[in-house]
């Protein structure tokens, strides 16, 4: 009898390679004859290029070629945007290497190809570019004001699109409601900061190309590269070898990938480019960057009537793969887990002369969750009701599922009560509230704040028809195939493309259970378009919920086929066969049977197969769910805020998540930990900062504060389990939950600590200086903060 694999905290099989340094990061690979590429990048946020002199650089030792954008103008195409959210969306051309004009600091202008990286970088200094500087457009609100300087002169506006969703009578809700709250929140710009910098290696072989890239999306990338370069799709093979994290930032078609392909074609030799961190901070797509204005109408008992959301979303200088759609992913989440009569959502995508934005862990949903969870706390404070109680009065009760929300989604399942009750118990809520009261009473210079976030998210991106209805350019199904080899070992191919998520382990666990084979007998293959014939890749917590379920289905098909063969071999009817522990046996006659391995060998030999059965034991399947999945949870944070220094210390963090059925609890817990760190980082540490001229001032890891082990607390995590109904495994996805839930929990805790000081908000990241200033904003209402657009955000109730 085999061990039950699904649900077991099995240690990962991919670790053996990673802990010993036997890795295949793209930058580790250097085939013979490889040339190295370095890019010259714009030092201006906005400028016209009037000339690029490359001749002196070509003379440098070791330099093979130097090209400007002009040299590739005819063949480099325009980087794709696959999400045209409105018919009239402004979608400017986006050349991989700038030709006439640069629109953000770091945009590539020219490149050197040389025998080694140092020679390439040295030669960059010899390239002379004539720039005619133009006005930088940094602030979103200024960008859409009358008479603003334009990022794209020919568009005549800095607005890319305005997207509207309305349901219910919001005007009536606002008119009648006794309580109306208005708040403005700033979602600062973030840099995803995967530990592995981007890297791309393109190896030509005649008119065929193998492109290795640190990418999350080998399949989508291949199609897009073919479209952009007009190199036929079947002549391009894309491989995502070991990929060192992505968090959305490697869900992209980057100019450097296009240019690597074009350079390899032009030079006929392998070319490799790996970014430095400083160049990466300027050019990896950024995330978040929204200004949110919310108006919430409620009854005096706390019940919500309606919510109005007006959003400005910074697109940066160009629209990349899914840039315009990111805020829309949040549109359906602003109502959170709460019932209301009316919702209105308006989003305006704004061009600025900054690095383009796109998906970053959670993509749209963290922004929405932050807003509604902050509003719930504001409402609780306004009404003098406990923030947990206000939420209880509004959320969808367990018995009301499935529930169609005001945003038009159907939440299939959920149990917000159970998750919250568990979290409160682990947190010792009442005890901490008592301590808070005591500290307030004593006027302790270190105040205690308690923050809560009860959230849900929309995971498992698919269903294809829904993505289509949102004008997304592709489907969302996923593919898997399973082949039982003649020896009885199993190879599994998935269209999902992991970059740290542990597919090799989790997918093998699923397979081992379904086929009744030992875990060690399963090998998982992925991330290579020559091996994995089709796929939609990894993002949006879709790997398990879509790809894992495709694998589940493929296994079922294999078992069905094996059953037919086994029945034939055992001269029994299919209906009389039982399949258990990897063995088919005749019901009631246990000793007569065939293992799946024996069946595989028979199917391979094909000496005696039933009519209509093709040799070999294998199958493939695609899965396109009928609905999204909706993980949910309750997070609680206790923060100590030093009122004299503004320093925030997280004292306790409890996360209870409901991600449905769990395949590997170890992996789930690890994903939650990492997600919490990223969400907390947004609340406390990280921000991509631009000066008034459009220079990014956080180009290094010294300036952009990724938290270290010393900056984070030990988390208490637990789970409730309410299986999803939109897939046969009941799984929901876990990759983004921690990030989505933690940011509002932390900021709510900080604001809660500072309520006695008249503070209603602190703009993120809540640095000691910002906290300190927010506390004193009452005394100095005019105090403005450089670069913050709206001064202190909504600190001190400033609207």
């Amino acid at each position: 009898m085999t061990v039950q694999e699904v649900g077991t905290p099995r240690k990962r099989s991919e670790d053996a390679r990673l802990i010993t340094g036997r890795t295949r990061w793209t930058d580790n690979m250097t085939p013979a004859g490889t040339l190295h590429v370095a890019f010259l990048r714009s030092p201006f946020a906005h400028a016209r290029i009037t000339g690029v002199a490359t001749a002196p650089a070509k003379e440098r030792p070791g330099v093979v070629a130097v090209f400007s954008g002009q040299d590739f103008a005819a063949e480099q195409g325009s980087l794709p945007c696959a999400w045209v959210v409105t018919e009239d969306m402004k979608h400017p051309a986006h050349p991989p290497m700038a030709v006439d004009e640069v629109r953000y600091v770091g945009e590539p202008v020219a490149c050197v190809v040389a025998r080694d990286k140092a020679a390439a970088i040295d030669a960059l200094e010899e390239i002379d570019v004539d720039y005619e500087p133009l006005s930088a457009v940094v602030d979103m609100e200024a960008a859409i004001a009358d008479g603003a300087d334009l990022v794209h002169e020919d568009l005549g506006t800095n607005k890319s699109y305005t997207w509207v969703f309305e349901n219910g009578d919001l005007d009536a809700a606002m008119r009648d409601a006794p309580v109306v709250l208005e708040r403005r929140f700033v979602q600062q710009r973030l840099i995803p900061t995967a530990m592995e910098p981007r890297s791309v290696l393109c190896v030509p072989e005649g008119d065929e190309f193998t492109l290795y890239s640190a990418t999350q999306i080998p399949h989508i990338l291949r199609l897009m590269l073919a479209t952009v370069t007009e190199i036929p799709e079947h002549r391009i093979r894309v491989v995502a070898p070991d990929v060192g994290g992505g968090f959305g930032s490697k869900l992209q078609v980057y100019g450097e990938e296009v240019l690597a392909l074009l350079l390899a074609r032009r030079l006929g030799r392998p070319v490799k480019w790996t970014e430095t961190r400083s160049e990466g901070n300027m050019t990896v797509h950024h995330g978040r960057d929204q200004i949110q204005r919310l108006t919430l109408a409620a009854e005096r008992d706390g019940r919500i009537r309606g919510l109005k959301v007006e959003l400005l979303a910074d697109m940066g200088a160009y629209l990349m793969l899914v840039t315009p759609g990111i805020p829309l992913l949040g549109a359906f989440m602003f109502n959170g887990i709460y019932k209301m009569d009316a919702l209105s959502f308006t989003c305006t995508g704004v061009f600025t002369t900054k690095t383009p934005t796109d998906a970053y862990r959670g993509a749209g949903r963290p922004e929405a969750t932050f807003a509604i969870e902050r509003m719930m706390d504001e409402l609780a404070h306004e009404l003098g009701i406990d923030p947990i109680e206000v939420r209880r009065r509004n959320w969808i009760a367990h018995e009301e599922f499935p529930y169609e929300t005001i945003a038009g989604l159907t939440y299939d399942t959920g149990n917000y009560e159970a998750a919250t009750d568990k979290a409160l118990e682990l947190f010792e809520y009442d005890k901490l509230r008592a301590e808070q009261a005591d500290r307030r009473e004593r006027r302790d210079p270190v105040q205690l704040g308690i923050g809560v976030s009860t959230f849900t998210e929309m995971c498992g991106l698919a269903p294809s028809r829904v993505l289509g209805s949102l004008s997304y350019g592709a489907g969302g199904w996923e593919h898997a195939s399973v082949r039982v080899l003649p020896s009885g070992k199993v190879e599994v191919v998935t269209g999902s493309s992991p970059h740290g998520q542990g597919h090799a382990t989790a997918w093998a666990q699923i397979t081992a259970d379904r086929l009744g084979v030992p875990f060690e007998d399963v090998k998982v293959l992925h991330g290579d378009t020559a091996i994995s014939p089709k796929g939609m890749d990894t993002y949006g917590s879709r790997s398990l919920t879509v790809g894992g379920v495709a694998l589940f289905s493929a296994c079922e098909k294999v078992v069905d086929k094996a059953r037919k063969v086994a029945a034939h071999l055992l001269e029994a009817s299919e209906q009389d066969l039982e399949f258990s522990g990897g063995r088919f046996s005749v019901r009631g006659v246990q000793e007569e049977g065939k293992t799946i391995q024996e069946v595989a060998l028979a199917a391979f030999a094909a000496h005696d197969l039933p009519d209509g059965i093709e040799p070999s034991l294998d199958s493939d399947a695609t899965f396109d769910p009928e609905n999204f999945s909706f993980p949910h949870g309750t997070h609680l944070c206790a923060a100590e805020v030093d009122t004299e220094t503004g320093m925030v210390k997280l004292r306790k963090y409890v996360a209870v998540d409901d991600v449905g059925k769990v395949v590997n609890p170890l992996i789930v817990e690890g994903q939650v930990h990492g997600g919490l760190a990223q969400g907390i980082a947004q609340a406390l540490y990280e921000e991509a900062v631009y000066d008034a001229d459009g220079n990014l001032t956080t180009t290094t890891m010294a300036d952009y504060l990724v938290p270290s082990a010393a900056d984070l607390p030990t988390f208490t995590t637990d789970r409730t389990e309410t299986p999803a109904t939109s897939n046969p495994m009941g799984v929901k996805g876990v990759g983004e939950a921690g990030t989505i839930a933690s940011t509002p929990a932390v900021v709510n805790a900080i604001v809660d600590a500072l309520r006695p000081y008249g503070v209603h908000d602190v703009r993120m990241p809540c640095t000691p200086e910002r906290v300190w200033r927010a506390m004193r904003a009452e005394e100095k209402p005019a105090a403005a903060e450089p670069g913050a657009g709206g001064g202190l955000g909504s600190a001190g109730g400033d609207q």
Binding site: R12, L18, T20, G21, T23, D27, G245, G670, A677, S708
Partner: protein, 163 residues
């Protein structure tokens, strides 16, 4: 061009190197020791941490010429007879890695940490690894792994056990 003689993971190398060549570039590009990755260019992330004469250094902040006459250990030189080091095993056992890019640096920095303090508290591990960034794990399991390895390594005779 200066000539250096350096011992790396038990083998001796003699090479002419440009004075500006960083140790990490020498390891990766000249010796093919690509198990040590590069995560930043400002010595902040710690991904490229190796041991030099037993002390952890960020190999992006050491010149190859400075390694002349020294003994360098990378993650590829840990363990004996094809086995793994207790620290490597602890990272696996405690699920202290996801994408694994920071892992070699974390492991090497942790070894140095335990050399100074064989029984660190949780806070001491957190402080000790402040110079090594991870984006996947939230550090919790890394801290657990280091403390587990510390415990395993304190037991006499378990230092270099092969699995």
């Amino acid at each position: 061009m200066p000539r250096i003689r350096v011992e790396v993971d038990g083998a001796t190398y003699e090479d002419d190197v440009e004075p500006r060549l960083l140790l990490v570039q020498y390891l990766r590009e000249r010796l093919g020791k690509v198990g040590t990755p590069v995560g930043c260019d400002t010595s902040n992330c710690g991904a490229c941490t190796v041991l030099m004469d037993g002390m952890s250094v960020k190999s992006c902040s050491v010149l190859a010429v400075q390694a002349d006459g020294h003994d360098v250990t990378t993650v590829e030189g840990l363990g004996v007879d094809g086995g793994t080091h207790p620290m490597q095993r602890a990272f696996h056992e405690e699920h202290a890695l996801q994408c694994g890019y920071c892992t070699p640096g974390m492991i090497m920095a942790s070894l140095d940490l335990l050399r100074d303090n064989p029984d660190p508290s949780e806070d001491e591990v957190r402080e000790g690894l402040e110079g090594n960034l991870c984006r996947c794990t939230g550090y919790q399991n890394i801290v657990k792994a280091v403390r587990r390895a510390a415990s395993d390594m304190r037991e006499p005779g378990r230092q270099e056990v092969t699995p």
